[in-house]
């Protein structure tokens, strides 16, 4: 089997996911095109060598619909022989796109491909694609569907994470993200988004609230009380987990991932194509895995997916230098650290989605790039990238610097 190497990655800054967000006027195709253009330009890439552009997108409808990967490649000026496809593994879509592109290279059926993702949550709100999962009565009832906020609160209730615990985690995420921006850790990967006249629209993650304290967070109201208590979802969660006395609603906008706009892409290829095009490999993709877990609690997939990929690679957690787990909700990360006995010093060292936001389809590719940059900065070797996934899944990838 061939190796899949990582040659480069870029991401856009993350704009606040509402009408006041800086990226709100930019269409999803435009945002993706700018990301793809930078990846081409900074590598002086002859795009005709690309065998595929694989992009994750979680709400692929409206202006994100109809295969945004192919359309964005065209509008970015990629050669027309470059095909594109869009995929959806919910929150891990961006990472899944990388894994898919890598697997094509490993199988010898692609030489060079891009994996990444996009989500303009200010323009195509979460849930715009509907779906049977939540709303077909038979399906939702039989699978004990609950929205992810309830699942996150269920995790906290079942595993004993208090409001103080989750807020404490969130404060640290903000602190680390602010520090990373101050120190310029992201500057090589974040490409500013520009308008039609070439003027910068956004060059930093605008969701962040540096200096947030626990007191600030303590003043926020729990976000999922209404769906839990009035729409019946607490009861549904307890039907699946009757050993939990009650759902304690601890998650707020402050300790959950932010709703933002953004896009990211990773250039992946074989050794030969790198040599031929004069590209320098930065890391090797050692392995990846996805897994299904109980769908009502939904967000407990990270640990099992991490264990699955570690086993596949013949590794243990002690072989991993840095962990990058998407901060969908604070309880998800706290549970992962508890289950795999991972120290916070090695995990999300530059903050995460609680501070900077979670553009659903793109996040997997963003955190993939973030941790690769950090391995290089620290001159360390291995990292595990991991996300919890809607519907009860987890996706994980291990990379190793070369």
């Amino acid at each position: 089997m061939a190796d899949a190497f990582v040659y480069d990655h870029v991401r856009t800054p993350r704009g606040r996911g509402k009408a006041s967000g800086s990226l709100h006027p930019i269409t999803p195709v435009e945002l993706t095109s700018q990301m793809l253009s930078s990846l081409r330009d900074r590598n002086e890439l002859d795009t005709s060598y690309l065998d595929d552009v694989v992009l994750g997108c979680v709400s692929p409808v409206g202006e994100q619909g109809a295969n945004i990967a192919r359309i964005s490649a065209l509008t970015a000026g990629y050669e027309q022989n470059v095909p594109g496809k869009q995929l959806n593994r919910f929150c891990a879509s961006g990472l899944e796109a990388i894994n898919t592109a890598a697997s094509q290279v490993m199988a010898g059926q692609s030489d060079l491909a891009i994996g990444g993702g996009v989500e303009c949550m200010s323009r195509v709100p979460m849930g715009s694609d509907s779906g049977a999962m939540a709303a077909d009565p038979r399906v939702a009832y039989d699978t004990y569907f609950a929205p992810q906020g309830i699942s996150a609160d269920l995790i906290a209730s079942k595993y004993g994470f208090s409001r103080d615990d989750v807020d404490g985690y969130a404060v640290e995420s903000q602190k680390r993200a602010a520090n990373a921006w101050e120190q310029g850790y992201f500057k090589n990967s974040v490409v500013p988004v520009v308008d039609r006249l070439g003027m910068t629209v956004l060059d930093h993650d605008e969701h962040m609230r540096p200096g947030t304290t626990k007191d600030d967070l303590g003043n926020l109201n729990p976000a999922f009380v209404i769906p839990g208590e009035q729409a019946g979802f607490d009861a549904v969660a307890l039907q699946r987990y009757p050993e939990v006395e009650a759902i304690h609603h601890v998650h707020t906008g402050g300790n959950s991932s932010g709703i933002v706009d953004g896009a990211a892409g990773v250039l992946i290829g074989s050794k030969d194509i790198g040599d031929a095009l004069g590209l320098k490999p930065r890391a090797r993709i050692k392995g990846f895995a996805s897994i299904g877990t109980e769908p009502t609690i939904m967000l407990t997939g990270p640990a099992p997916s991490a264990e699955k990929v570690l086993k596949r690679c013949g590794m243990t957690t002690s072989d991993i230098d840095l962990f990058e787990l998407n901060e969908a909700f604070a309880s998800v990360v706290l549970l992962f650290m508890q289950q795999l006995d991972v120290d916070h010093d090695k995990l999300n060292v530059n903050g995460g989605a609680i501070a900077m936001g979670h553009p659903l389809g793109a996040t997997g590719a963003m955190i993939f790039g973030t941790v690769l940059d950090e391995l290089e900065r620290r001159d360390q070797s291995t990292a595990l990238i991991n996300l919890c996934v809607g519907g009860g899944m987890g996706t994980a990838t291990i990379i190793e610097r070369v």
Binding site: G131, A135, P137, A140, F145, A235, V236, P242, E243, E245
Partner: protein
């Protein structure tokens, strides 16, 4: 045609008057369906007929399906395909009605429920008479079914998914004017003008095409999963159904699925989906259980099926109520409300007045809510006379005592009362713990002494348990039952035993909860599983409500009464520990199994896990559920064996209406039939080995399982008494 009078007037309008013989209300018998079908053929084929109006000769329109046939449908041995053909029958008659090519109006002269309303929905125009007692609705969900005559398809197409779902999943009854506001009927008129109004529509407007058969029809408010409002309705609706049913009742989600799946299709395809879901419900024991216990058997109980024969109907005009505490006050209220004069007696006038205050408060609430005129409330209050003088009991046909649970005190009031009441008056005790035979020893006329056991709060609880002492005579039983009918409650009749039927069996539930706690089973698991199994309150929460202290005293009293025969229950060490050692005596004392913080909700006392450390591993939720439900079912079988119960229907009705055993089961005995007799026996054998003799299977049940004889089989009680 025997059930429909078919007349054509000079304008060419056929008037179909439904009149099912030998029934107080029209129900959808096979004959009525056949006659309706024949009428449709006439309307569509006879060129002289311009249109039609459907009405009823009775004070109601059509009250719905023939429930007896629904009970039998569960075990009639017919295949799903055969049941599907049956389900399609009525539905397709109505489809032919609305596509017959001529305008048809429903003249809804009175109550139209279930299939009755479905006939109306298949008409092109609906006008209802403004009759006070008339209600419209699709209440099939209450017997575990769905509106299978097109209701799930026509109603959402008429008024939108959300409103239709609300009505069908709750089984709501609407007054004609509310139905007009909801858009279910087109007009409400005076009864005199009903048929003329319907005929006017046929002549003047007379559109013979339903909205959903017109090109470009859209479901009001949207449908399917591409419409934001519809998505929201379906998503939240599904979760709320899960919350309300705990997955125990299959009908509400089936109704929702019919609406979701059907409304994105042409109506004929939607109707087909409805029929298929209808068949799944017919084949589910829940519909059999609910229909049999809550309608057929409860209906029979309300008609006093257990009343001894050959005794003239009696009526209580003056009731004596001894003791104006919570129970006495409640009994006084419901009796005065039902029109009786009530003498409310306590040790002094103040105490008696306090009891009357209860009625004042309840009536005021009704006035405030606009449910009663203050004059009417005043009349009721005036019927309650408070006193401390036994002489006022003179002339009472029935006296009920609800004084302190002490044999001596009860003997005293019995003697004082019997000194003044008429020779043929009946004396009843509302005791919940003391055997009636023992109390009757204080009576000069024990054949006129009976137990009438109410549940708290009396005004809300629908059941009354009548307890026959050894010497209680038939006339006493008849008077008690006639009285219970007067106050519009449902009676069951049981023989004397400690705890009678309801308290005794309910005690096995709380006992099992405490036993599991003692074994180290997670208290949250016990409480949540109990509620998810359909019990109204978890066993530990119930103990807190009635107080552990009361349980403690009852235990001590029972031990004293039984002497050497006393065997402590498996839960009694828990009660003793909580009362004697931990001083956590229940909710009234501010702490028990739960903590009761001043602000915020009650929660399980965190110290529980130190008193009873959690076992590892924990049992599955299903095992906890079985223990909590099966233990009650087994004790009900013992009540049949011991003659405490004389008929399974009393056991089933009493369990649901008395202590809130979950209705989907059909009651404690129907649960056993639902699980399957042999499966139940096998499970209990396993559980007896694991958890103790509480789960020991009575021989009678083992025999029944072997013979495959259900509790309601015709020969079941005979076989039981022979054994």
């Amino acid at each position: 045609m025997k059930t429909i009078r078919f007349e054509v007037d000079s304008d060419g309008i056929a008037l179909l008057t439904i009149d099912v013989a030998e029934r107080s209300m029209n129900v959808l018998t096979p004959e009525l369906q056949a006659d309706l079908s024949e009428s449709i053929d006439k309307i569509s084929s006879d060129e002289a007929i311009k249109g039609a109006v459907i009405t009823s000769a009775k004070s109601s329109f059509v009250a719905g399906a023939d429930l007896m046939s629904m009970v039998n449908a569960y075990e009639d041995g017919r295949s799903a395909a055969e049941k599907y053909e049956y389900a399609r029958g009525f539905q397709q008659i109505l489809r032919r009605l609305e596509t017959c090519g001529k305008p048809v109006a429903a003249a809804i002269n009175g109550t139209a429920l279930g299939g009755g309303l479905e006939i109306c929905l298949a008409c092109h125009y609906r006008v209802a008479a403004d009759v006070p007692k008339s209600v419209l609705g699709l209440p099939e969900v209450q017997v575990g079914l769905l509106p299978g005559g097109g209701g799930t398809q026509r109603l959402p197409r008429l008024i939108g998914q959300q409103a239709a779902l609300q009505l069908m999943t709750q089984g709501t009854h609407l007054k004609p004017k509310a139905a007009l506001e909801q858009g279910i009927v087109h007009d409400v008129v005076a009864l005199d003008d009903l048929v003329p109004a319907a005929k006017r529509w046929v002549l003047e407007t007379g559109d013979p095409v339903q909205p959903w058969d017109k090109k470009g029809f859209k479901v009001p408010g949207g449908a399917g999963l591409m419409h934001p409002g519809s998505i929201q309705t379906l998503m939240v609706g599904s979760a709320l159904i899960a919350k309300e049913t705990n997955h125990n009742y299959p009908a509400p989600i089936a109704i929702m699925s019919c609406v979701y799946e059907g409304t994105v299709l042409p109506i004929d395809a939607g109707l087909d989906i409805e029929s298929k879901y209808f068949v799944t419900l017919l084949m589910d024991p829940v519909s059999r259980n609910m229909t049999r216990t809550l309608f057929i058997n409860k209906g029979a109980a309300d008609k006093l099926v257990r009343r001894p024969q050959g005794i003239d109907k009696t009526k209580v005009t003056k009731l004596g109520m001894l003791g104006a505490g919570m129970m006495g006050a409640g009994i006084a209220y419901v009796s005065a409300y039902a029109g009786m004069k009530v003498v409310l007696l306590d040790r002094d006038r103040d105490a008696a007045e306090k009891g009357k205050d209860y009625s004042r408060a309840l009536l005021q609430k009704r006035i405030d809510r606009g449910k009663m005129a203050s004059e009417k409330a005043q009349e009721i209050l005036e019927r309650i006379v408070t006193t401390d003088d036994y002489a006022e009991l003179e002339g009472c046909e029935l006296v009920i005592e609800a004084v302190f649970e002490d044999k001596g005190i009860k003997a005293d009031v019995t003697a004082k009362t019997e000194a003044v009441i008429p020779a043929d008056a009946i004396f009843a005790s509302n005791t919940s713990t003391l055997p009636i035979t023992g109390l009757a020893e204080a009576s000069k006329r024990p054949e006129q002494f009976i137990g009438i056991h109410f549940f708290s709060p009396v005004d809300k609880m629908p059941l009354v348990e009548v307890i026959l002492g050894e010497k209680t005579g038939d006339r006493a039983t008849a008077v008690a039952l006639d009285y219970i009918q007067q106050i519009r409650k449902t009676p069951i009749v049981v023989n004397d035993s400690r705890g009678f039927y309801t308290s005794r069996v309910f005690g096995t539930y709380t006992n099992e909860g405490m036993t599991m706690l003692c074994e180290g089973i997670s208290p949250a698991l016990i409480e949540n599983v109990a509620k998810q199994a359909g019990m109204a309150v978890g066993p530990l929460a119930v103990m807190d409500e009635v107080t552990l202290e009361l349980g403690y005293h009852v235990g001590k009293a029972t031990a004293a009464a039984l002497g050497d025969d006393y065997k402590p229950t498996t839960g009694s060490p828990v009660i003793e520990r909580f009362v004697e050692e931990l001083d956590r005596r229940g909710k009234r004392f501010g702490k028990g199994f739960y903590d009761y913080p001043e602000s915020g909700k009650k929660h399980l006392w965190p110290g529980l896990s130190e008193v009873y450390p959690l076992a590892d591993p924990q049992p599955s939720p299903d095992e906890v559920r079985k223990r909590l439900l099966y233990v009650q079912a087994l004790d009900t079988v013992r009540c049949l064996d011991e003659g405490v119960l004389t008929h399974p229907a009393d056991g089933d009705i009493g369990s649901i209406l008395g202590w809130g055993f979950p209705p989907y089961t059909g009651g404690t005995l129907s649960l056993i039939e639902t699980v399957g007799l042999q499966t139940f026996v096998d499970e209990c054998d396993r559980m007896a080995a694991a958890y103790g003799e509480r789960f020991a299977v009575p021989d009678s049940l083992r025999e029944q399982a072997k013979a495959g004889r259900g509790f309601y089989a015709e020969d079941s009680m005979a076989a039981r008494s022979a054994a």
